[in-house]
């Protein structure tokens, strides 16, 4: 249960260095032998596994503090180094210090006055509570100033140039400085001069940067693992320490025996190498120390650094219990608030239930069922019971009955998931808040998570093998909070652009199009089939009574609209004619909803679609999330019903065009080719008229691109003449379900020019793209124009050009995702602790102001209308009632753009769709 401790406030944190004395003082034992265990498997005293350093084996007691495994935190030991070595982490500081102090007297190479000036600067900074960054800036400046001197102002000694030979060798005009000499120099620097350099001498003497003693971390930090075979496998850090000890020992022996200077120096350098790699095994300039298998060792820095390091993977992020992950699949019969959870997962994920007198009987019953109840109907069992004394009992089939008997108020029973439980559902990458939403559980057979297709866009999910995570909430408070704040229906409107992110996609849009387009009508049987799933109980009066009763799709759709809804807008299928015919639009693209009745217009992407759905937008804004959730649920069912009754399929024959049209396209292509050749000829003859601001070559390119662009459009138009609304592919493209007319014209007409970096293809061989062409050939075919369609098939050269263009798309997406991911990370890190306060100000954790008024207008973008605080058009419609004419007039004039028009922001999802199309070319995306 929750343990509430004493809350304390950290007033300051100070970082300092360990002095050799401190290292020895905190050491539980000196470590001298490189061996860990003796032949009997007992740790050797004064070895790396000395029992004074803590316990890792259960049952044993620590020799230092006498505690058992989980109680003893472990204790440091130390190694006395035979010769001093440089600490890699401090080489920069050592270099700075050596360069800015005198080689003979050790004073800082600044006059008294200069030094004083820097000190006072720093004082001023601290007074203004300047951050550490500013302070380090001053120290860097003073050090730079000092190191530029060539003569000591105190003892007049001439200074020699000190260079750092990476990673740890210092040279003075070529002469090598041993760590010992470095340490001696650092020792000479007086305390007073260190303050100028930004070092507090009371806690950080610079000579401590050259190690004479090495702390040995407790065994708990580097536990050894016993393999199944009984062999012991040591931690990488232990391995490294063994190396250090071994060389340290040899160095001491050789030095004491008076071995030749050369040998001692070699060993000393080897010791330096081992100590360096002990700290950081990725130090540039030296080969990483490797395991016997060839794998580089993971030493101290590697444990902390990077994505897999302690910070990012253990402190900022953690592994959790009560979570599940599996493949997702669609289920239009679920509400958008629900998630289908496989029985296997529901039996593993549990919710703690506190037993009271009121639920005692139920708790006992669930408990008695055990962890795996059988039977045709899913019934929740219990995995664990927590007694009043806090002991956790695992329920098995055997003990279920007996435990159930002892369950009494005060116990906690961890029962399996039930329908209606609130869980969090998440898909990575979690780029915005809609990536984790709260769903209600529906326990279902089979092995996938299922959810309503309308929730795909916020998760950016599809079902080509995507997996998602689910987390069962463990406290009432968390469940309540999730239900209020994180439920799917609360996220229909996105804070990104003030419009719906949850809405119909693909077949749902097609379905509603089929249902409502023009005068589609349905028989009684069909009507019932469509409406029953949506839970509509009564039928309206049929629109046509004889010979048989028929209901129009518009009538059916009106059944799920609130009765007081008024709306007027243009559908996606709107052709943007010069003069709008309004209700009499021949494409049925002018949507008029009065009193909840769809009077004219087609319900398609503009009405229901995620990102664009005007009806969704209006419903969730004016009728609340409950109503819009209910609407979306019904709309999906109606749309699915409609599309099932009519039947819908698309295939390559949707792009069939008559032979006559094919010939026309061929003709157009020939014309284009000839025209290009004409341009080239004009260019060769110097007759081409130069465009202002462009060279002659560029002019030619622009002209050719123009001709070829037009050629593709012509081909598309010719093909388009034979692709009417009776064509499935065209229906999808026009109503916004999937694909575009451009895609269709590329399939049926011609693919057109391929481009890399916005230009016609030109690279590959000398002055030509492929050896199939003459050098310097500027013609359409030689520079990547594809006159064929996807349907008619590409020639080998065309295929190659298409791959060139396609490759650029792939490279771009790869580059874009990694770069934007990094940018997002940085942005989130900068913004994560900002908060909008009650007074509308935005503040950080230090309570200082970031913005005086959130967004400068105090508008919650999720409740805005496409970013604007008020939807003026909607207000007008409400106030002026059905004088729709007037509103239309105002709109027509475009006096003010109220942001109701599509903003480019709304186009972004389209763009990513375009990227999606590439999986067409590559063949499956696969996870």
């Amino acid at each position: 249960m929750m343990v509430t401790g004493v809350t304390k406030r950290i007033s300051a944190i100070r970082f300092a260095m360990l002095s050799p004395e401190e290292i020895r003082k905190m050491s539980a034992t000196k470590v001298i032998t490189a061996d860990t265990y003796d032949d009997d498997g007992f740790p050797i005293d004064m070895g790396l596994m000395d029992p004074h350093l803590g316990v890792i084996e259960p049952g044993l007691r620590c020799k230092t503090c006498g505690k058992k495994v989980d109680e003893c935190p472990g204790h440091f030991g130390h190694i006395d180094l035979a010769m001093p070595v440089i600490h890699v982490g401090y080489v920069k500081e050592i270099k700075k210090l050596l360069q800015s102090t005198c080689r003979s007297c050790g004073r800082l190479l600044l006059t008294k006055d200069q030094a004083q000036e820097y000190v006072s600067q720093r004082d001023r900074m601290e007074e203004l509570t300047g951050d550490s960054f500013e302070s380090s800036h001053i120290s860097a400046e003073s050090a730079k100033d000092a190191s530029s001197r060539t003569m000591c102002p105190h003892c007049n000694a001439v200074q020699l140039k000190i260079t750092l030979d990476k990673p740890t060798t210092f040279r003075e005009e070529g002469h090598k400085l041993t760590p010992k000499e470095v340490r001696e120099r650092l020792e000479r620097v007086p305390d007073g001069d260190l303050i100028v350099l930004g070092i507090a001498p009371s806690v950080c003497r610079p000579e401590w940067m050259v190690l004479t003693a090495l702390p040995v971390p407790p065994v708990t930090v580097r536990p050894s693992i016993t393999l199944d075979s009984g062999d012991r496998s040591e931690d990488d850090v232990t391995h490294k320490l063994v190396d250090v000890l071994r060389i340290n020992q040899r160095l001491r022996e050789n030095r004491d025996a008076g071995a030749p200077q050369l040998i001692v120096e070699d060993l000393w350098e080897l010791l330096q190498y081992h100590v360096t790699t002990y700290f950081d095994n990725q130090t540039s300039g030296i080969p990483p120390a490797r395991h016997r298998s060839g794998r580089p060792l993971k030493t101290l820095v590697q444990r902390l650094k990077g994505k897999e390091g302690r910070f990012r993977s253990n402190l900022s992020g953690k592994r959790v219990n009560f979570s599940a992950r599996t493949v997702i699949s669609p289920d239009p019969m679920l509400s958008i608030n629900e998630v289908g959870v496989p029985i296997a997962a529901a039996r593993e994920l549990t919710v703690p239930i506190r037993v009271t007198e009121r639920n005692l009987a139920i708790a006992k019953e669930m408990c008695a069922r055990g962890p795996a109840p059988e039977g045709p109907v899913y019934k929740p069992g219990v995995n664990y019971v927590i007694r009043t004394d806090g002991r956790r009992i695992k329920i098995t089939d055997k003990n279920a009955e007996t435990v159930a008997e002892v369950v009494e108020p005060g116990y906690v029973v961890e029962r399996h998931l039930l329908d209606g439980d609130i869980v969090l559902f998440n898909r990575q990458p979690s780029l915005h808040r809609m990536s984790i939403m709260a769903h209600e559980v529906r326990v279902m057979p089979y092995k996938t998570f299922r959810f309503n297709l309308c929730v795909c866009p916020p998760y950016n999910a599809d079902f080509d093998g995507d997996e998602m995570n689910l987390h069962a909430l463990q406290s009432e408070e968390a469940r309540a909070e999730a239900k209020v704040l994180m439920r799917v229906q609360e996220h229909i409107l996105s804070p990104r652009f003030g419009g719906p992110v949850i809405g119909a996609i693909h077949d749902h849009i097609t379905g509603s199009f089929i249902l409502t387009h023009k005068n589609s009508s349905f028989t009684r049987e069909e009507t019932m089939k469509i409406l029953e799933k949506a839970g509509v109980a009564s039928l309206p009066k049929p629109a046509v009574k004889s010979p048989v009763e028929r209901w129009t799709g518009k009538q059916l759709f009106s059944m799920i609209l609130p009765t007081d809804l008024h709306m007027t807008f243009k559908s996606s299928i709107c052709q943007k004619c010069n003069e709008c015919m309004k209700e009499k639009c021949e494409n049925d693209a002018f949507v008029v909803i009065r009193n909840g009745q769809l009077i004219s217009g087609t319900i398609d992407e503009k009405a229901l679609g995620a990102f664009k759905g005007r009806v969704l937008d209006k419903l969730s804004r004016d009728y609340g999330s409950d109503a819009s959730r209910a609407f979306i649920d019904k709309a999906t069912k109606i749309a699915v019903g409609a599309i099932t009754i009519r039947g819908f399929t698309t295939g390559i024959d949707d792009e069939d065009i008559p032979n006559q049209a094919k010939r026309e396209i061929d003709d157009a292509m020939v014309q284009a080719r000839l025209k290009v050749e004409e341009h080239i000829k004009a260019y060769r003859n110097g007759e081409l008229e130069q465009m202002p601001g462009r060279s002659l070559e560029e002019t030619l390119e622009v002209e050719i691109m123009k001709v070829l662009g037009k050629a593709r459009d012509t081909a598309g138009q010719i093909a388009g003449r034979h692709l009417g609304l009776e064509n499935s592919a065209v229906i999808m493209a026009r109503c916004g379900a999937r694909g575009s007319m451009l895609n269709l014209s590329q399939m049926a007409g011609a693919i057109g020019q391929q481009a890399v970096r916005g230009e016609r293809l030109s690279r590959g061989y000398w002055n030509r793209t492929l050896p199939h062409f003459k050098q310097g050939d500027l013609g359409s075919q030689a520079r990547g124009f594809i006159k064929n369609s996807y349907k008619s098939g590409l020639t080998p050269t065309e295929y190659f050009f298409h791959s060139m263009g396609g490759r650029e798309g792939l490279v771009d997406t790869a580059v874009r995702t990694s770069r934007s991911g990094y940018m997002q990370r940085r942005l989130i890190n900068a913004l994560e602790d900002l908060k909008v306060m009650q007074d509308g100000t935005v503040r950080n954790t230090a309570d200082t102001i970031i913005q005086f008024l959130y967004g400068e207008d105090n508008i919650d973008p999720a409740r805005s209308v496409q970013g604007d605080p008020v939807d003026v058009d909607d207000v007008l419609l409400t106030v002026l009632g059905d004088k729709g004419e007037l509103i239309a007039q105002i709109q027509e004039k475009g006096v003010v753009s109220y942001g109701i028009q599509d903003r480019d922001m709304l186009e972004t999802p389209e763009e990513s769709e375009a990227g999606d199309d590439s999986d067409f070319d590559i063949g499956g995306e696969g996870e």
Binding site: L128, T848, I849, F852, L853, E856
Partner: protein
Amino acid sequence: MTEEFNVLEHELVPEHHILPKKEVAKVLKELNLGKDQLPKIRLSDPCIRALDAIGGPVEEGMIIKIVRRSDTSGMSVCYRLVVRG
């Protein structure tokens, strides 16, 4: 060389005003803030130097009122504390 010009007159630079001493307490009360919670602006900031030259000496601890055009609300006001540097 380049001509001297007043940065405050540049179209991309928002209006800067010295907040009169009398109003300081009032504004801070309105915002329910201590001086140290305000965003900072340095004495060496080009705008402050220009303001210093035109509107009399600007000292550390004074508050600058900045009025800028805003995409979302038309106009927005914010305050900054002058700090040394």
